[in-house]
């Protein structure tokens, strides 16, 4: 298939596997930051085919997984209001809050709608002037610009019944937090290519230098990921720690100036809690004062939320690369996609879901095999 097939060619992949094998002389731990990369690695069996010295550690880059429980609970409360049409991307609907999710709220009569673009939510607001329309704005630097653009459009068009429930997060502060952890085992990073498509690579050289860690900007198809790993291993073997762009067909050094300008107009950087990880300073965005009236938290005064996390779920350690999903005692037993304890089991980009979906030959699950 044009644009995709050529990046999963088995002959080229074998050549890259051979190259990686040839340069590897000792064990290395490499973190792929993005959940989309994790999904691709597990789906295509890339980790099974790498030399055993190379360990891939799955990072925190699943936007659904790291959205704080408090924000999910706020979404559930806002969505439950009779005058609200609550719009979201599909994969947020199954994420558990404290006891329920958006599907449950929908089945109780709330008007929850799946949209494919925040602009669709704005259109719904235009078509329903007597209702409040809220869009659930989560995600990394990839989804933040269109959400910012939508708020900009709402203000420009004077659409007063639209607001954004914001929980945007930034990748570089998360890399910094992971490297600052005393338990950190990460020796190199595959940075998320689509994040750099928007933001460019300017934030990474300082991180690479300070933590003496190679960072390779990497795409999402199998050959992209193998090329990222090959470059990371070459740097590690040579004792280097530079920033490399292994995704040049999508990433320019300066990123997208238009998207960055939109971000800095509509949002401002703030401290943000990451589900399972905790507070990371300066790691998120919120609406800037100029757009505060479009902030759903401000508009709906959602306060007094009491959150309740599972006591056995270890998704936070999975997100920080400290354990593999199947090393959690609840994996595949109390915690399945059917009854998820944490967001990493719900999201299609979550590491636990990827292991559950694609790796049950290695970690058999009795519950799932008895249903069917």
């Amino acid at each position: 298939m044009k644009y995709l097939d050529e990046f999963s060619d088995p002959v080229l992949a074998k050549r890259l596997f051979d190259d990686i094998r040839a340069v590897t002389t000792r064990p290395w731990s490499i973190m792929e930051v993005c959940g989309g990369q994790t999904h691709s690695i597990i789906r295509h069996g890339i980790d099974q085919l790498l030399p055993e010295e190379i360990e891939l550690i799955h990072g925190p880059g699943c936007p659904v997984c790291v959205t704080p429980l408090e924000i999910i609970d706020k979404a559930l409360e806002i969505a439950s209001r009779p005058d609200v049409i609550f719009c979201s991307f599909g994969d947020m609907l199954r994420v558990p809050g404290s006891g329920r999710d958006l599907f449950k709220v929908k089945s109780e009569g709330a008007d929850v709608r799946v949209v494919y673009s925040p602009l669709d939510a704005l259109k719904i607001a235009q078509e329903n002037p007597d209702r409040q329309v809220v869009f659930f704005g989560i995600g990394f630097e990839t989804t933040a610009p269109p959400n910012a653009m939508t708020v900009y459009q709402a203000k420009k068009l004077g659409i007063a019944n639209f607001s954004l429930l914001v929980s945007h997060v930034k990748v570089p502060p998360a890399i910094d937090a992971i490297m600052n952890s005393p338990d950190c085992r990460v020796q190199a990073f595959l940075a998320a290519g689509h994040v750099c498509t928007v933001m460019g690579m300017g934030e990474y050289p300082e991180l690479a230098e300070r933590h003496r860690v190679p960072i390779v900007v990497t795409g999402f198809e199998p050959l992209d990921i193998l090329e990222g790993i090959r470059r990371a291993v070459r740097q590690l073997e040579a004792g280097q720690h530079t920033v490399e762009n292994a995704y040049p067909r999508a990433v320019q050094a300066e990123g997208s100036p238009a998207a960055r300008a939109m971000l800095s107009d509509v949002f401002e950087v703030t401290d943000r809690a990451w589900r399972g990880i905790g507070m990371i300073p300066q790691s998120g965005w919120r609406l800037s004062p100029k757009y505060r009236e479009y902030d759903a938290e401000y508009r709906f005064s959602v306060t007094g939320i009491q959150t309740e996390e599972s006591t056995v779920c270890r998704s936070g350690e999975v997100l920080q690369g400290l354990i593999k999903p199947h090393e959690c005692a609840a994996f595949g037993k109390e915690c399945t996609p059917r009854n998820p304890l944490g967001a990493t089991m719900v999201s299609s980009e979550g590491a636990c879901a990827a292991y559950y979906l694609y790796r049950r030959l290695e970690t058999p699950d009795k519950e799932a095999s008895s249903v069917g």
Binding site: Y3, H44, F103, E349
Partner: protein, 329 residues
Amino acid sequence: MGHGGGGTLSAELVEHLFAPAFGGDVLAELGDSAHLLLGGARLAFSTDSFVVRPLFFPGGSIGDLAVNGTVNDLAMAGAVPAYLSCGFILEEGVELSVVGRVAEALGEAARTAGVVIATGDTKVVDAGHGDGIFINTAGIGLIPDGVDIRPQRAAPGDVVLVSGPIGVHGVAIMSVREGLEFGVEIQSDTASLAGLVADMLAVCPDIHVLRDPTRGGLATSLNEIASAARVGITLDERALPVPDTVANACAFLGLDPLYVANEGKLVAFVAAEHADAVLAAMRAHPLGKESVAIGHCVPDHPGMVVAATGLGGTRVVDMPLGEQLPRIC
């Protein structure tokens, strides 16, 4: 909503709620159609309800689907479809011209499939209590002597064949329902498969399993068969016939084509010695000219479907929980 998606939740609803409440041995088989013995004749009997939005889409309409869906359920038992019933539930306010277009499409599809609409019913519900038009069809057909097609008959060594490109209907519906445009128009593959099945049975009456992978896609059908027969299934991922348009649309939305609905495709399990003949018969029929072998039945990992990835790894192809949800990025 997930209980209507054709995945694990749908199966649980039927197995744990409906089947125990209704009782009876016939229902316990849980195939696409029931196999009945009546006056010495072996009949297949099936029913299906159609709630598709929009009512008209590229390549078809709810009228075509209402015929082809039930006809195909009968054909998947190897039956020659004969008679259909047709129940319309109309929402107050739906235009009669729209009902007329649907009825014409339904009649045309029945004539093409060679079945007779023998009885019907019409109900009208209040505005706001329906979605324009809902249709239920039920059908009966005669199963020829010597034909015994059931999911339980899948056996290690069987070759798994599929009659053409997958995921086309689901992407066609998404392209109009969600207002998504994928650069080229994708037509639904809705069609009656009874003729194709007849040609396959002519060269091999001992086909073990037939299934039309509708809701939940090919992955769901294969999981159901693996579970019913307690066999493993291995797929060659690179052999899967996924058209570029479907692959691109799915990549864009974060969906897996294996789970996207089809309405005019079948999957067949045949013993290895008959596979070439059946494949040739499929390719000789207009609805099966792009048929391919995609995998095998194996004694390993019973109840589980495992794909060999293009790079040489393996992955489990699981039963979906409910509807697939588009990803955030």
